[in-house]
Symmetry: C2
Subunit: 526 residues, 2 copies
């Protein structure tokens, strides 16, 4: 992953001259006056790790697995939110961890946490570094130094139980690594978030990730059957059975704990046979309301698509304008919906037929396979487009929420208005697009993509817009995040999300597991 942009630089998606010109007009873009610093020009705050601590950590993980080199610290300097990327483009010194430590075993994780507890060193657990909410920012908190605990060495398909359809995966495996290991045995996990190419299994669990196939395979938290967690107070092995009534479900305390309660080192997940076939069908709906009602019918009647998503009118129009033409006979008005069906040929056909009947009855018009295939082809590439947009002086960021079906339209309207008004107040036009990508019987997610123009101080400009959106979400029955997690950026809303007493509960659990408070300070728990 590049230090100042998404993913692999060779996969960058520069904007065509036509698109740049069009966007320049629509968004009133101002070309960037000062070029962003290159890797040679970037300055990091110096490492504050003591020589003693360095030696003690090296004694635990081996001298090869600890680094204070700028090159290593820079790539763990933060996640990939637009705020992160804007900060990387500034010439001021960059925050960075004081060292990168890469443990190779659970025992080494335990020893590192023990040492850091005794010496008062903050610890940021780190997987793929794809957080878009500040979840891996190297915050020292009240400590004098902070290390990034990079978990990439905790890999491996640790166990595969084909009878039960479950596998134990090392937390440091990236999603493609995990899928490759499972595929050798004919199995698939089926978790495909946009961060798929870089994010890790442990990160998915720690953030309650949700993938594009959530309609078929569930959220990542649904897939988890058990967790191995190392805390400063000792290890926990959670999840004895597929379901239990033996008290509160403690797995659910560590799913979404974002490294603040412990370090997830292994995850037992539900797996299924690699699908034999995939069937595709795209749909047009005259408007978002009609389309959302159609998705609701599919979700409430359990018709079993693997993927189902619906873009609103703006997103449908912008996507058609900005990407290569999809098919030839595209409908350019209304809303595009995508459906995919996977499984055995019989399963996929049966589910396709049920869903098709429901979508037709709900006012959909089939657009055939092509737009659905095109979506699948490009589905991990949007973050590259954001980098290109930032390059030409645009603002581009996404945010997401979820609510019940009854409040969905109102939530969409209010969040859109809040974003538009906030950007307008900074002198920027805006385009606010939205799609539904995760459906449940009782509700759905809303995923917003916001385009604007960078003005004087883009970090403050976007922070203001984000605050307006967050307030609108909480005021309109939404959750502050459906699948991006909390990190630093959503932390201001946590008290409104779960109440003072909910926060007190999280603090009491943290106190029990991490008495010194070294684990990921400044994240999640207010």
């Amino acid at each position: 992953m590049q230090w100042n942009a998404w993913g692999d630089g060779t996969l960058a998606k520069p904007l065509s001259e036509d698109i740049t010109k069009l966007l320049g007009q629509i968004l009133d873009l101002t070309p960037q006056s000062t070029p962003a610093p290159t890797v040679d020009q970037v300055t990091l705050r110096p490492s504050a790790l003591s020589v003693d601590a360095h030696e003690a950590l090296a004694a635990i993980v081996g001298a090869d697995h600890i680094s204070t080199a700028d090159a290593d610290r820079l790539t763990r300097a933060g996640g990939k939110s637009t705020l992160d990327l804007l900060r990387r483009r500034q010439s001021a010194p960059q925050d960075a961890p004081d060292a990168v430590v890469m443990p190779g075993t659970d025992t080494e994780v335990e020893a590192v946490l023990d040492l850091c507890t005794r010496q008062g060193i903050a610890v940021v657990p780190f997987g793929g570094g794809t957080s878009v909410v500040g979840g891996v920012s190297p915050i020292r908190g009240r400590f004098t130094s902070v290390i990034t605990l990079d978990l990439r060495r905790l890999g491996g398909l640790l166990a595969l139980d084909e009878v039960s359809g479950q596998a134990v995966l090392g937390a440091g495996l990236t999603a493609p690594e995990a899928e490759a290991l499972l595929a050798e045995h004919g199995y698939e996990l089926g978790h495909y978030p946009q961060s798929f190419r870089y994010a890790t299994i442990g990160g998915f669990a720690a953030t309650r990730s949700s993938g594009q196939a959530s309609a078929g395979h569930g959220r990542f938290d649904d897939m988890v059957q058990g967790l191995r967690v190392i805390t400063p107070s000792g290890p926990l092995d959670l999840g004895r059975a597929p379901a239990s009534a033996a008290g509160p479900n403690l797995c659910e305390l560590f799913l979404g704990s974002e490294g603040t309660l412990g370090v997830i080192t292994a995850v037992r997940v539900r797996v299924h046979p690699v699908p034999a076939v995939t069937r595709y069908e795209a749909w047009n709906f005259p408007d978002f309301t009609t389309g959302a009602a159609a998705l609701r019918a599919v979700a409430q009647n359990g018709m079993g698509p693997t993927v189902i998503r619906l873009s609103d009118e703006t997103e449908t129009g912008v996507n058609l304008a900005m990407t290569e033409a999809i098919g030839t006979d595209q409908v350019t008005t209304g809303c595009l919906a995508i459906t995919l069906f996977q499984g055995t040929a019989e399963q996929a056909a049966a589910r396709h037929e049920l869903t098709r009947t429901a979508l037709l009855a709900a006012g959909g018009t089939s657009l055939g396979e092509e737009p659905a295939r095109a979506w699948e082809h490009g589905r991990f590439n949007a973050p590259y487009l954001r980098d290109s947009l930032l390059d030409v002086g645009a603002l581009c960021e996404t945010l997401e929420t979820a609510t019940d079906w009854a409040h969905l339209a109102e939530l969409k309207t209010e969040v859109t208005a809040a974003l538009q008004q906030s950007l307008q107040s900074t002198g920027s036009p805006s385009l606010v697009m939205c799609h539904i990508s995760h459906v449940y019987p009782t509700g759905a997610s809303l995923y917003f993509t916001v385009l604007g123009a960078q003005r004087e101080d883009a970090v403050t400009q976007w922070s203001k817009a984000k605050t307006a959106a967050g307030d609108a979400i909480l005021a309109n029955h939404g959750t502050i995040t459906h699948h991006h997690a909390v990190g630093t950026d959503h932390r201001p809303w946590m008290t409104r999300e779960i109440g003072d007493l909910g926060v007190a509960v999280l603090r009491s659990v943290k106190k029990t597991l991490d008495q010194a408070g070294i684990l990921n300070p400044g994240k999640l728990i207010p």
Copy 2:
């Protein structure tokens, strides 16, 4: 609910003379020498509630809604485990709460908890009183008195959102009351545990209940979208959206909390339209191994039966011998499986066809509709049979667990052997029957019914057998309880279930919410 037996006395199922004689021979039953005390003969420990406390509680809930009368205390003297029923048959003084308090609003619940915190009075939240694990036993703990907080007045369909398919139900509603209220609007909850006729919505949430239609509608914890919980530290409103990544899922801390962390006063649940049709089909499998593999195929491929269950060879044989003949051409060897399919006619037909194909392919032989209809007809009556068996000197109890598919056979064998050996050591023959009633992609539940003969001290005799079974469960990858919850009876295994650190986490949450420790002492948390 009768004080000393299940449910409604007029629905009792006395054993026929033939069956009694047969069981007497098989189990070597000794007729009861001393008759059990009648309600006039039973002695309760006297109420220890102070006059001050009585007056203060009456001031909160009204004088009509607090009672120290023996008749009221006796019906809240405990749950309905076999141990409870055996204790009720003893002539020694019975434990009983020092008062029964029936709050009518959340505010009253708050005030009662506040008063009891200040005065040091233990509080046992009480719904239908159907616990089979000692969950509502009136334990004083370190306090001088204990009240039962009967929640039956917190009823009502508090909200119905037909668009989202969710309803808010008062915690004190019994399941039939809730279904009747929903049915007026064309909706169903679909939660049918054996305790259906008496158990309450709050109790289902507090114990992670699982109903007979769990294959179709999920466990009760799956149905819950939100909870209102009153704790001594204040109220909590949990569950903002159908899914969220805003940290740990705190609903999951209160589901299964058994009244030890707070009092659940309202539950937001997923509901669905009352099914238009029900289709029935029963199956025979040559043996349990073949039948379990068939259920696994159905669960892992998501074929969507509403109910699917499989009795082992012993249960199949005993049920045929003990109940009225089911149909005429019954296969009396092998294992009986039951399937039900509900929904629209199209949904039910499609799911039936898929399941049918899978069961045929897996070695099943159809037995037609009748045995499935007969199962549905009698499905809530087994507890009555237990009372009749206790009457003739038999021991009869059930226990349950769950594990992954890979460990299911071994767990069944080991638990069966542990029960048989323990009862044998007390000079009792035994019949250990088992069925699978809840299936998941990665595993299933096992529900054991144990028949033996009461010897000298039946309470000790069964406690010993239960201990042997619990130890076998934990030693063989099982959870100590799949849907009966923990209460007093499973508490000795909680540390092995979730580890010392897991227990420490629960204790820290309890300390935050219930600093004085008044809530349901002696239950769940070791």
